[in-house]
Symmetry: C2
DNA sequence: AGTAAAACTTACCGAATGGTAGGTAAGAGG
DNA sequence: CCTCTTACCTACCATTCGGTAAGTTTTACT
């Protein structure tokens, strides 16, 4: 693993994440990515064999961040309810601080329908499984069916994710002020309905 | 308006909708679209001045379907609560019957961040505004703030939309059986938390 | 200082892209 | 029968794409 913070690979991954998340895989060229760093596209191909390999590295890093997010909450010594609320708060906070992450994952959900390969991994599997387990220990949900808990958890994740990718559009439609008001009450409104 | 069902424009729009929603704007070439119809790409450029114009026509049609969906519910003579539930049921049903529509809108939410032009219209404005108004007449929500109602409504729409674009991925992660179970209880789980 | 690996560069390529220009075949209406 | 419009076509073009090959510069280490 390239652990070094300033490893050249990492600066490519960071830039690629931003561009892939904003313009998508096909909308981003290798020249775009390297250009942002003042380099030629061949500098990328030195570190990553293909464009797909670069994309895979980006996806892996983003998935690792989401995994870390849910792992972190699970390991804390909190009540089940507190864990869930903390998880949702952290997830929402993360989509705000690192909007590229959520956008990339959403694009991946849309794209892997077509750009499938035998080797494609399901980076989100761990995140989804662990997230859903957070509902299992809630008294309110313990005696519901597994399917109901799964549906409920995916609704929470979906609500947060969809809102975060919509923010630029909503800002244009509603104006910044109304968006900020809505953002301000988003978490409490979401949690109040659990 | 090209009202005729078999208008040549319409067959291009239908095919383009499918491909744009599956592969995205940059992932779909004019040759791809025309190829599916056994034609050359110039046949498209005869009907639509540019690729952007074709995309715009597709987007307009999809947005019109969402508008019709919410308009249809609002005009019915139902209680506020029944209206909301009917709306959510119809929205979920629509994302299942016409999965291309939801995927295209989600891509547009992601893309218009970058592919903005002065002329770009906010196709979703009417849909969002009218949808949110559905919560206004619910006793439970009447005395909450406008921002809270807006947040709640967008959470419902987001939950449905995100789930629908995730179905292929979830089917691969969970398997078809678990996905079907979850789908089966999705609406009731969602509604029970309003 | 010397050297070898790492991190780039220039030069090039075939394929695909959106789009232009200039046709042609078919049908409708007078 | 003639003409105009619709709906396509072939031919072509400049640009961009991901990727290969072969050098050159920078860095790290002895």
């Amino acid at each position: 693993m390239t652990g070094r913070i300033d490893s050249p690979k990492r600066k490519f991954i960071e830039t690629a994440l931003r561009l892939f998340s904003e313009r998508g895989f096909y909308g981003t060229s290798l020249a775009d990515v390297s250009g942002e760093l003042g380099l030629t596209k061949q500098s990328i191909l030195y570190h990553f064999k293909t464009k797909e390999a670069l994309y895979g590295a980006v996806l892996e890093e983003v998935a690792a961040r989401f995994d870390a997010l849910v792992n972190n909450v699970i390991q804390q010594d909190l009540s089940a309810e507190k864990k869930l609320k903390t998880f949702l708060a952290h997830l929402l906070e993360h989509t705000r601080e690192a909007p590229y992450d959520g956008r990339l994952i959403t694009r991946e959900l849309l794209d892997n329908l077509e750009r499938v390969e035998a080797s494609r991994k399901w980076y989100l599997k761990h995140f989804l499984t662990e997230s859903t387990s957070l509902l299992q220990d809630l008294p309110k949900w313990r005696y519901r069916t597994e399917a109901e808990r799964t549906a409920a958890m995916y609704q929470l994740i979906g609500a947060i994710s969809y809102f975060s990718i919509s923010e630029p559009t909503l800002s244009a439609i509603w104006g910044k002020e109304k968006l900020d008001e809505t953002s301000g009450v988003f978490l409490s409104t979401l949690v109040s309905r659990i």
